[in-house]
């Protein structure tokens, strides 16, 4: 876990002092809202439907127990006792008062956190594989480079007023859990002839115009990475369409100019930028690496795990769905689902956050992660501790065994909170989870990812959901479009629309129709939803969703 240097701490304190004064000046009338708005957005403070919303960065989704406890404290002290974890590994507070925000930022500063660049046309929080440093399939831990990018991009003078926001994600595993292909820049750690390097993907993004990113370089060496990233952002900063915000993201720049031309411009800019780096970034990276040494893993028997697995069916079910293979023998990665059936995806109460902090300290080498799928991860738990961990999670409603299943839904806040939303997301997610829990079909269905967005901006990643749901306003009524076959992984793919959308009352029935069609046409119980869809295409799903008029009438009669 990176610990702030004296420089970092002073920088945050100074920014918070400035913001406190800006809030005072807004309240006493010295600043207009037009003057204040960009200042509050630079510090992560939005104004939403019912209240202000403060978005706090959780760099590459990594936390320790002290940070998690402080997030719980803030929820309790200044908000309504909960927080919402987002698809960008951040946390959002939905109810802060303007007067309290400077105090909240100071409280964050105490544990080395802030809300800087969680909004505005800047480089946003760098996201990473939530299994970083733990995954069995990992080539290298992406967090040191993610931290280097965080330091480079924070308050970077050239990149404070860009054409639009800019998002970077990094994975150290070939199994891409960080959705790198749907980011402005995606970075994949690769190995060539024994050397670690970086494949760089550019121009991905979801939203209004979804695009899968294109490889701009197959292999960038470690010492070239930061100047190379700077060259990309710099080229886009000049070329990007400031005349039209819908065409401003780099995905459009890449699309309009072509990847070959962008590569040529980036290479030319790189030649200018590279000599200015002089190796300072590499010294910094070496320093950062010291913060990310693996914990002192234990070598102990796993009898307690084996016994519980054998004798306790509830534990076994949880272990089968919520655990992932760890790179160290005897360890597991444990995911804590914050998607209990009928609850709001991604929300955790202050009490739950405190319990998760305690458990991380007790059983997890003091590490926690937030996944882009809106769950919490304990990346390093020795198997012998898992039965005790599970028992304690059960007490606070955190032992739901549904990771990767149909109720493990990504949902943006939608029109229950968000000022941009065109329809609600949360109630649809709640209803789907409850429906399939009641049908007791969840485990039979197996691996499936449903992702819901309440507007075309696609915070809920609907384009890359196996089933994607997009909520729209159709003539003053909530209406939901469905896509099938999206994929967020290394085989990234955008889903296909089934056809006309469904009103709120029938969208959950439509999802059930899709799932029942899958169960009927899959070649075997081992064929996942996505595999079935790739084999059969849209046809059987479309036929089930939109029966011919005559037949529909006959059914109704």
């Amino acid at each position: 876990m990176y610990a702030y240097s004296e420089f970092d701490t002073d920088f945050i304190a100074e920014r918070n002092r400035q913001f406190r004064a800006q809030v005072e000046r807004r309240i006493d009338g010295s600043l207009t809202e037009d003057e204040f708005r960009p200042l509050r957005l630079m510090n992560g403070l939005y104004l939403q439907l019912h209240a202000y919303m403060l978005r706090v960065a959780i760099p590459y989704g990594s936390l320790d127990s002290a940070k998690m406890r402080q997030l719980a404290y803030i929820a309790q002290r200044w908000d309504k006792g909960y927080g919402h974890f987002t698809t960008r590994q951040n946390i959002q507070y939905n109810w802060p008062k303007l007067n309290d925000v400077p105090d909240i930022l100071d409280a964050l500063g105490e544990v080395g956190m802030h809300a800087i660049q969680t909004s505005g046309n800047t480089i946003r929080n760098v996201t990473a594989d939530h299994f970083a440093g733990a995954a069995a399939d990992e080539i290298a831990d992406p967090r040191p480079v993610a931290e280097l990018i965080r330091q480079w991009s924070t308050d970077h003078p050239e990149f404070q007023f860009m054409p639009r926001k800019f998002k970077i994600a990094i994975t150290g595993s070939p199994n891409d859990r960080a959705v790198t292909a749907a980011h402005d820049i995606g970075i994949r750690i690769v190995e060539k002839d024994g050397e670690i390097g970086y494949q760089v993907i550019v121009g991905g993004g979801l939203g209004r115009t979804p695009m899968i990113g294109k490889v701009i370089s197959d292999f960038v060496t470690e010492e070239d990475l930061l100047p190379y990233l700077e060259a990309i952002v710099s080229v886009w900063n000049v070329l990007g369409r400031r005349d039209n915000k819908y065409k401003a993201r780099i995905k459009i720049t890449v699309h309009e100019h072509g990847i070959d031309e962008i590569r040529r411009l980036v290479d030319a800019r790189f030649a200018e930028v590279k000599p200015t780096f002089k190796g300072v970034d590499q010294q910094l990276l070496a320093e950062i690496r010291k913060h990310f040494h693996p914990p002192a893993f234990r070598n102990a028997p796993t009898d307690a795990f084996d016994q519980a697995y054998e004798n306790d069916p509830v534990f076994r079910s949880w272990a089968d769905t919520n655990l992932t293979e760890h790179k160290i023998n005897g360890y597991a990665i444990a995911q804590i689902s914050i998607k209990a059936h009928g609850e709001t995806p991604g929300d955790a109460s202050a009490e739950q956050m405190e319990v998760m902090a305690d458990l991380a300290e007790k059983y997890g080498h003091d590490e926690l992660r937030i996944s882009h799928e809106q769950n919490v991860v304990l990346p390093h738990v020795h198997k012998s501790d898992l039965p005790a961990l599970h028992a304690e999670l059960k007490k606070v409603g955190l032992a739901t065994a549904n990771i990767g299943l149909i109720s493990d839904i990504i949902a943006c806040p939608g029109m229950d909170y968000c000022a941009l939303a065109t329809a609600r997301s949360i109630p649809i997610a709640q209803e789907i989870a409850v429906r399939f829990d009641e049908l007791k079909l969840e485990h039979e269905i197996g691996d499936i990812k449903i992702k819901i967005s309440g507007c075309i901006n696609a915070c809920g990643h609907h384009h890359v959901g196996h089933i994607g749901i997009l909520g729209l306003d159709r003539a003053g009524v909530e209406n939901y479009q469905i896509t099938l076959g999206g994929d967020h992984s290394e085989n990234a793919n955008l889903g296909d629309r089934t056809g006309p959308g469904f009103p709120a009352e029938s969208v959950v029935d439509a999802i059930e129709t899709i799932v029942r069609t899958y169960l009927a046409v899959r070649s075997s119980a081992d064929e996942t939803f996505l595999e079935t869809y790739r084999r059969t295409g849209m046809e059987p799903f479309k036929a089930a969703l939109y029966p011919p008029k005559e037949e529909a009438k006959a059914d109704a009669a």
Partner: protein
């Protein structure tokens, strides 16, 4: 032919609390849509919006929202305004909890 003017209220968010507020006919703000001034004339609407916006210490992002006039006072015509005057659907928070 220009579209007929539909009744409107001036609404926005409170500067300090951030919650939904409505402009009244006495140039003050209310948290209850029932007490809002209903504007039925387009020219008046622009004047009232300017009056509301001039209270920069009270309101952020004032705008005109459609309402329909009922026996119980103004009611939202769009679901977004209905959520704004109620609160989120996943928790009993916001306006619905304060009534």
């Amino acid at each position: 032919m220009p579209r007929a003017f539909t009744p409107k209220v001036v609404t926005g968010n409170a500067l300090l609390e951030g919650d939904v507020i409505y402009f009244t006919d006495s140039d003050s703000w209310t948290r209850n849509l029932k007490d809002a001034e209903v504007i039925t004339d387009e020219a008046v609407a622009q004047v009232r919006l300017l009056a509301a916006e001039s209270q920069a210490a009270e309101v952020v992002g004032a705008y005109l929202a459609d309402v329909k006039v009922t026996e119980d006072g103004p009611e939202p015509t769009h679901f977004r305004e209905d959520f704004r005057r109620t609160g989120p659907s996943n928790y009993f928070h916001g306006k619905q909890a304060e009534a």
